[in-house]
């Protein structure tokens, strides 16, 4: 658990981060979203003390982060940034081995860990470990950047616009991969982005920042249905609130029992996708398929519409 308590950062007269307090539950993804200059990156960088707070404190699992030297703290926290910052003069394997090497792991354990991570990110070790970053595509470099951040098995991973440089298709794949890896490893991730869709897609909880202040920190549905500030509604957008809400709900989680006549959708599809499918086919209900392809239940159109309705 990460507790951020009344954190402030002041440069001269300007308050870049203004009295932010929040609690981040372990094994969740929290996205911090805001416009540029909102203080979201500064907030993130104060967690691993790349920037020292002017006042306030950060506790990780109950321990004040200032209790140990900053560089030792950072070795326990994963860090991945936009543009990745891969070391161009080091091979992929050497890049990933950075923190384990700093921690003095034995070489055999480092090699094993590097291979394990490369496989986790679908990069065949024999083909990639000896390559240099410039020999990889943008998407591959991005995966190496995240693999490097996870190398020493940190409980906490900080990410600053990690997908900012990717084109939309690779970006969607990278987000999917990150969700998969997080489910598998249970890492607590704090991810900064300016893209509200990305924030909704990845975050179990979303924190909205503006002008240094934390406006709202809640589950994505709550941001849509109960925005705490006009800026939050504005950021979410007025036009497709219902669809945004539906996009957060998986078909499998609302399926009713029984098989019906109609198209089939996977259980992981969002209700937004199911709605689109029903409109396209002119159908009133869809079967929900489990992972093995068997019918797990169905979703009627009316139930989808009910879940997209504004709640009083």
């Amino acid at each position: 658990m990460i507790q951020i308590e009344q954190l402030c950062k002041q440069y001269g007269a300007a308050r870049v981060v203004d009295d932010v307090s929040m609690v981040i539950e372990p094994r969740t993804i929290t996205t911090i979203v805001g416009t540029s200059g909102s203080g979201k990156s500064t907030l993130l960088r104060m967690i691993n003390r790349l920037i020292e707070p002017s006042s306030g404190r950060v506790l990780i699992d109950g321990n004040d982060t200032t209790a140990e030297p900053a560089h030792l703290l950072r070795r326990r926290i994963g860090y991945a940034i936009q543009g990745l910052g891969l070391f161009p003069h080091r091979t992929i394997a050497e890049n990933i081995a950075t923190v384990p090497r700093l921690l003095g792991w034995p070489q055999a354990r480092i090699d094993e860990r590097v291979d394990e991570l490369l496989r986790l990110f679908q990069l065949e070790p024999s083909a990639y470990s000896a390559k240099y970053p410039h020999e990889l595509s943008g998407g591959q470099q991005q995966r190496v950047g995240v693999a490097r951040a996870l190398a020493a098995k940190p409980n906490v991973l900080l990410m600053d616009e990690p997908f900012g440089a990717l084109d939309p298709i690779i970006r969607a794949k990278a987000q999917e991969d990150l969700l998969g890896v997080q489910r598998k490893l249970g890492t607590t991730i704090i991810l900064v982005t300016h893209d509200i869709d990305e924030a909704f897609r990845l975050g179990h909880r979303v924190a909205v920042m503006s002008q240094g202040r934390l406006l709202q920190h809640d589950r994505p549905e709550a941001l849509i249905t109960r925005p705490a500030d006009p800026f939050v509604s504005q950021l979410i957008g007025a036009d497709d609130k219902a669809l945004k809400l539906l996009s957060l709900i998986a078909a499998g989680s609302v399926a009713e029992s029984g098989r019906v006549d109609g198209p089939s959708v996977p259980a992981t599809a969002s209700l937004r996708d199911v709605l689109s499918e029903l409109v396209w086919r002119g159908a009133a209900q869809a079967n929900v398929l489990a992972d093995d392809g068997s019918v797990a239940g169905h979703v009627p159109l009316a139930s989808i519409l009910a879940r997209g309705r504004a709640q009083a």
């Binding site: 860090y79 910052g85 003069h89």
Partner: protein, 389 residues
């Protein structure tokens, strides 16, 4: 490729220029100069008159082959071999002709290469280096080729075949001093370089970290660089002489207004700017994301510098060191003017005695040294440039 190109396209432009220069030199300028003693004006002699018939034919044919290769052959290996063969035969012919012209036991008369010889051998040298460049050898190969070239030259000069040439005569007279001045030259050039690296590298890192310091330091060093070397020697003379007078202990250590001390100080000062400036530029080009990631992953400040910033800035820093080394090797020559020693001692002594051979005895090793230093440091720079720019 099989289509016939127009004739003008088939002729190599650089080759044509070099052949034209070489041909003019052969036709108009003397390959040999014969002097009754070392300071008398020389009279021109023709090489072909002095060689045996088979020698003249061999020399003529190899020069013709080199000219044809320069004009018509595109394969760089053939061009290289033709040029090297011509250089070797020309040099051997020169040594042979000097031997013929010198009566046994005569130590007074001088046979020197003439302007025709120099221009021809420089043209052939350019042809060879151009061919080598076209072959694009890797860094290790370039150093190997240089080592092979120097070995061949030293073995050839030691073989005795060139002992009757005027420069070798000067060498024979000054052999002991030559080794001593060579050591002095290297010591001054390398010693001041090492001292400059020890000071300039940390200074460059500081300038990178503190932008406010940067403008001041670079400004002062720029000012130093604009002072002509002779003037700087002069400026240093007075304070150093005063120091030596005031502190006899310093004088005992070799500090004085003239000699190696002011030379070393001046060379050191000139060496600072290229290394500081290149260190600042090199560090400035390191990706900020890589530095941020390194810090974010828990590298300490020193580790970021050692493992990320310096390795990535190394090609730029080595370029600065190369500039300094080549500059130092050349400038040590001038230091001889104030008693600093080095190959320049021969140059100034030769000028004083109007003995051009003695000037060359100082000048040629300086050029070879500077050239070798440039090749070795370029190779080192390439080896550290693992990242494409």
């Amino acid at each position: 490729m099989s289509r016939a190109r127009p004739a003008t396209d088939r002729i190599d432009r650089l080759g044509a220029l070099l052949v034209a220069i070489g041909a003019l030199a052969v036709a108009l300028l003397p390959p040999l100069v014969f002097k009754a003693n070392r300071i008398m004006p020389g009279e021109p002699r023709q090489l072909l008159d002095l060689l045996p018939a088979w020698g003249s034919v061999t020399l003529g044919l190899t020069l013709l082959c080199a000219a044809l290769a320069a004009l018509l052959v595109r394969d760089a290996r053939v061009r290289l071999i033709a040029a090297l063969a011509a250089i070797a035969v020309l040099a051997l012919s020169l040594g042979y002709a000097a031997d013929v012209l010198t009566p046994p036991g005569n130590r007074v008369l001088r046979v020197a290469p003439g302007s025709g010889f120099w221009i021809l051998i420089v043209s052939l040298g350019l042809l060879a280096t151009d061919a080598l460049t076209r072959l694009r050898p890797g860094p290790a190969w370039r150093v190997l080729i240089l080592a092979a070239f120097l070995t061949v030259v030293i073995l050839a000069l030691g073989s005795g075949r060139f002992d009757d040439l005027s420069i070798m005569r000067e060498y024979a007279v000054n052999a002991d001093r030559f080794a001593q001045e060579a050591r002095r030259h290297l010591l001054l050039a390398l010693g001041t370089l090492i001292a400059a690296v020890i000071v300039a590298l940390p200074l460059g890192v500081l300038c990178h970290r503190l932008p406010r310091l940067r403008a001041g330091v670079l400004g002062v060093l720029n000012l130093v660089q604009t002072v002509p070397s002779i003037a700087l020697f002069g400026i240093l003379m007075a304070p150093l002489a005063a120091l030596a007078l005031a502190f006899p202990a310093l004088a005992a250590l070799g500090v004085s207004g003239i000699g190696a001390a002011p030379a070393a100080i001046a060379l050191f000062l000139y060496s600072l700017l290229p290394i500081v400036a290149n260190t600042v530029v090199g560090l400035g080009r390191v990706s900020p994301a890589a530095v941020d990631a390194a810090r974010g992953m828990g590298l300490t400040g020193a580790q970021v510098l050692r493992e990320v910033e310096l390795p990535l800035a190394m090609p730029a820093i080595l370029t600065g060191i190369r500039i300094v080394l080549v500059q130092n090797i050349g400038m040590v020559t001038i230091a001889a003017l104030i008693g600093g020693g080095g190959f320049g001692a021969f140059v100034f002594q030769g000028i004083g005695q109007t003995a051009i051979d003695l000037v060359l005895l100082g000048a040629i090793p300086t050029i070879v040294l500077a050239f070798s230093a440039a090749v070795v440091l370029d190779a080192l720079t390439d080896l550290t440039r693992r990242v494409p720019q």
